[in-house]
Symmetry: C2
Subunit: 199 residues, 2 copies
Amino acid sequence: MPRTKGDHEARRREVSEAVWRVLAAHGFGGLTLRAVAAELGASTGLLTHYFPAKRDLVAHALDLLEQRSADRPRRTGGPGLSAVRAALLDILPLTAEATAGNRIWVSSWDTALADPAWTEDYAGKYARSREKLRDLVAAAQDRGELTGGDPARIAAGAQAFVLGLVVQALFDPGAFPPDRQVALLDDYLAALTVPPAGT
Amino acid sequence: MPRTKGDHEARRREVSEAVWRVLAAHGFGGLTLRAVAAELGASTGLLTHYFPAKRDLVAHALDLLEQRSADRPRRTGGPGLSAVRAALLDILPLTAEATAGNRIWVSSWDTALADPAWTEDYAGKYARSREKLRDLVAAAQDRGELTGGDPARIAAGAQAFVLGLVVQALFDPGAFPPDRQVALLDDYLAALTVPPAGT
């Protein structure tokens, strides 16, 4: 029976799922054709059809990570400060799924820093993320909910804060359970908040 | 001529230097016996004497990273807030040497997260680092230089902030040159600072 385009697409999805499971369990350091083949119950020979070289496998894993991050559900924050808070909460490992995604992100930094093209690509991703956050910060400032000052600078600080909190929570989930992560973020935002008039 | 204990120690140092150079150039993802052998101009056979398995090589690299971090020169901050600031500045990639060390630290997270024993070891390192910072925060609070509130919580927030800033600066040194890193840290500290009485 000839293989159809549908079969081919289904196979590609299976391969991607196997790559994701290997990343979630072992990180980029454990990402090998052999590990993906074992996860898939297939031969490494089949996988070289999809990934002729290790670099192709890693590139696919990085694409997959970006795609899954882009597609993940987001909180719908109200306007102003509430939207800033929602965007930052969306980054934190507050659920099992967000923890798995973050664990893979943090693991990918080793790979991304080892290659100038990927480093540049990551720098671009983070810059775009800071620009979105800057716009939210500026809107919150317009509403008088955040202190003045360069919104790009406030966004850069807030992004640094949540990224570092992600790392801490991944290494020590006992010391950084979800409620503590949220409390620390709220401390951070409180320090940037203008007290309501009259207090 | 029989090899002396001195020869042996010198050889070990050479091997460690080669491991460090491989890490600085390629991260933990590029750390292989073959890469270290090439860096050393030696055979992989010689290296298996030092590192019978890949895990031994990685364990040595993690030890080396901890040792070099512990031995690095530190700023001498005055008392109070100045000591908190000095401790946080010591973490940032403000020099070429600090950048290389941080690049290896960030790269090591993939390896450390992939192994429960190393994850626990890292969690312990960060917990001890937060405890030191907590004591500095408490001393600054006693002097009235930082706002009140749980010093452990303030230390956890400050540690998250600098770790995230390290990551951002490694990926995008153009957007986060040393003076911008310091300015962002000072913004962070300013938000925690009690205005002097009478202002």
